[in-house]
């Protein structure tokens, strides 16, 4: 296959920012050059086409096994491909949880033929209940790329500290979402003026920040040095969190963090109509928090952007607000949200780094760069194309972006010798 006149966006590639022809054969980049002529091969070309390493989402929730009515492994791969992702790392919050080599193996076996590579983030504690450790060595050997209780923040201080310690020789990152569940009990949205006006129980920013401080302090106590992050904060949402991480990184603590793409778009005023499609955890915060998140992305404090894809069936969402589930399906819109809302804050190269090189490094996956001889794990996209989000390949439809016109569209995904058309 020959991709004609495509602008390469890959900060790690010698061809970064250059417009080239790229010849792919048998899943490998054969040649990169100008006006290549290759006989008997399919030619892909289009105006304003860009090419980057294949995108990876490091926070996807599926429902397989156990909650397949929300999302199964095939539908999540289809949604990921539609969104331009060639790899996803899935959270362990299934039923049963990804807490044994059985379930991790099931995920791998079910998806090995797929264009989209699925990586399992294994549970730190059995059933993600925060009580008993999983067999982390065994799970690492079974292929777990990282450890986390996913949507369940780790509350028990002892469990958190010992997990972090235990994972050290395994070269695996611990991923935690910082939230003190006692301070957010019964909470529905960010605590602020909006929650006061709506009479809804708030989830204060401080509930995230004190847990983040706890985790940082315990990491400091361990006194370990590492080139790669050993603790990763997922979906941070407040200005103070950004500042705490910025300071901790300056001190040299081996940490990283990400933010959900949708977090960059809304503040809590959007809840005024009680639309449960905007009900997410962490909740949409204030406009100041949102601005600090953009700043954190731009200056590198926030390493990665995730879709935080959280599929829910209509019955779990089309309800009274306080009964509705938290979450948005994000795979198909994540990139477009960054392009649509982040044009002034992030360069295209930065945006691509946050969904390619940075998450691969955090998850200890081999880096993908656009060079001759490397595996063809690629995404073709147009950062300026406007499109309307009207159909989804996910099994669930809980997204506030349905019907919205966005800028930035993935066009093709290429991986494992397969080519898929996006959207």
């Amino acid at each position: 296959m020959l991709i004609r006149s495509v602008k390469i966006v890959d900060s790690q590639s010698p061809f970064h920012h250059q417009t080239k022809d790229v010849w792919i054969e048998n899943g490998v980049i054969r040649q990169i050059g100008d006006a290549l002529s290759v006989a008997n091969t399919e030619v892909l070309t289009g105006s304003n086409w860009h090419l980057s390493p294949g995108w990876i989402d490091m926070r996807t929730t599926t429902g397989d096994p156990g909650l397949e009515h929300k999302e199964d492994l095939q539908s999540v791969c289809a949604a990921a491909a539609a969104g331009g992702f060639t790899e996803i790392a899935i959270l362990p919050n299934t039923e049963p949880a990804l807490d044994s080599k059985d379930t991790v193996g099931y995920v791998q076996r079910s998806t090995q033929q797929n264009l989209v590579q699925v990586h399992a983030i294994a549970a730190v504690t059995k059933q993600c209940e925060g009580k008993d450790f999983t067999e982390m060595i065994d799970l690492t050997h079974a292929g777990a790329v990282a450890f986390s209780d996913g949507t369940h923040p780790i509350q028990n201080t002892h469990i958190f500290l010992k997990s972090l310690q235990y994972l050290q020789p395994l070269n695996r990152v611990l991923i935690n979402r910082a939230e003190d569940l006692q301070l957010t009990a019964y909470g529905q949205m960010n605590e602020g003026i909006s929650s006061t006006l709506l009479g809804m129980r708030g989830m204060p920013a401080v509930a995230e920040e004190i847990m983040l401080m706890r985790d940082l302090k315990l990491l400091e106590y361990l006194n370990v040095t590492s080139e790669l992050p050993i603790l990763h904060f997922s979906t941070i949402s407040t200005a103070t969190s950004v500042q705490l991480i910025r300071e901790a990184k300056a001190k040299g603590l081996p940490i990283s963090c990400d933010v959900a793409a949708h977090q960059m778009v809304f503040d809590d005023a959007v809840l005024s109509g009680f639309d449960s499609n905007y009900k997410v955890n962490p909740p949409f915060r204030s406009a100041q928090d949102q601005a600090a998140l953009w700043q954190g992305l731009a200056d590198g404090t926030i390493d990665a952007v995730v879709s935080d894809h959280s599929p829910h069936e209509e019955e779990a969402k089309n309800l009274e607000f306080d009964l509705a589930a938290f979450g948005i399906t994000g795979l198909e819109t994540a990139f477009a949200l960054l392009c649509t809302y982040g044009k002034d804050a992030l360069s295209l190269s930065q945006t691509i780094d946050k969904i390619t090189h940075a998450p691969r490094r955090i998850l200890r996956l081999s880096d993908i760069t656009i060079e001759e001889g490397n595996a063809a794990n690629l995404t073709i996209f147009d950062p300026s194309q406007t499109w309307t989000f009207t159909k989804t390949r996910s099994k669930s439809k809980n997204s506030p972006f349905f019907g919205k016109t966005l800028t930035g569209k993935p066009l093709y995904v290429i991986n494992r010798g397969l080519v898929g058309k996006c959207g």
């Binding site: 003026i193 006006l197 809804m200 708030g202 109509g273 607000f321 306080d322």
Partner: protein, 306 residues
Amino acid sequence: MTQLSVRHLLGIKNLTETDIHAILDTATQFKEVINRPIKKVPSLRDVTIANVFFENSTRTRLSFELAEKRLSADVVNFSASGSSVKKGETLLDTVNNILAMKVDMVVMRHSSPGAPHYLAERIGANIINAGDGTHEHPTQALLDAFSIREKIGDLAGKKVAIIGDILHSRVALSNIFCLKKLGAEVRVCGPTTLIPKYIDALGVQVSHNVRETLEWCDVANVLRIQLERLQVKYFPSLREYSLYFGISKAMLDSLNKPIVLMHPGPINRGVELTSDAADSAHSIILNQVENGVATRMAVLYLLAQQ
């Protein structure tokens, strides 16, 4: 004819000052009607109203039902304690089933903030919010405003204190919106843990001293301590609450001016109010109840014109 700017009464937040005055003025006329020997008028003949209560209520439901009957509406009642979900049927299905029986208006109480807003976007009938969780209770705020106006005149410039559990109170929130729109000065007072952190953004003063608040105000609206809504602990005991935040007749008598005492009911006698305070000459608590019927008649009547 007076027209409201809204199709539904979801909350005071959505009303204009003109809407509120229209409702209060119409309520004045209905109050005169319900004090006639023949209390009934034919205004809503052939209008069917469903009172759908997903949360326990005695006086609000009775008050709405009387208001509906005095307007000659046909009335059906549906009560289910606990949320509809526990019954295995969604709120939307429950209400659509009732509407399929040709109901024109729905009066709903529900424990979820925003439940009436959710319905208003999905069904055709006029919806009246009779209390949605800890969000709003608009007819209570309207009848409170009516009662204050009746007792001491125009609300503009009057000082109104709302005392008690502000954090969990839909009455407090609706009252704040209503009183502010009518130009009153509002102060909330209660234990620090029962005052929302961001309440001052609504333009109200905050105090934790009941005595000093009573000295300040023209009207004290005392809220019920809603023990049933406290899923987690906010204060040590009712005993301590009544000792330091309760109001007695002796306190009221010792003030340097007479004030008006209100309570949305039901009163926890001996907790937020002693019996002698609740039954004192300061109290207009039973007037509030009477005015509730007239105010709800006004709301139903005006919405039915839409």
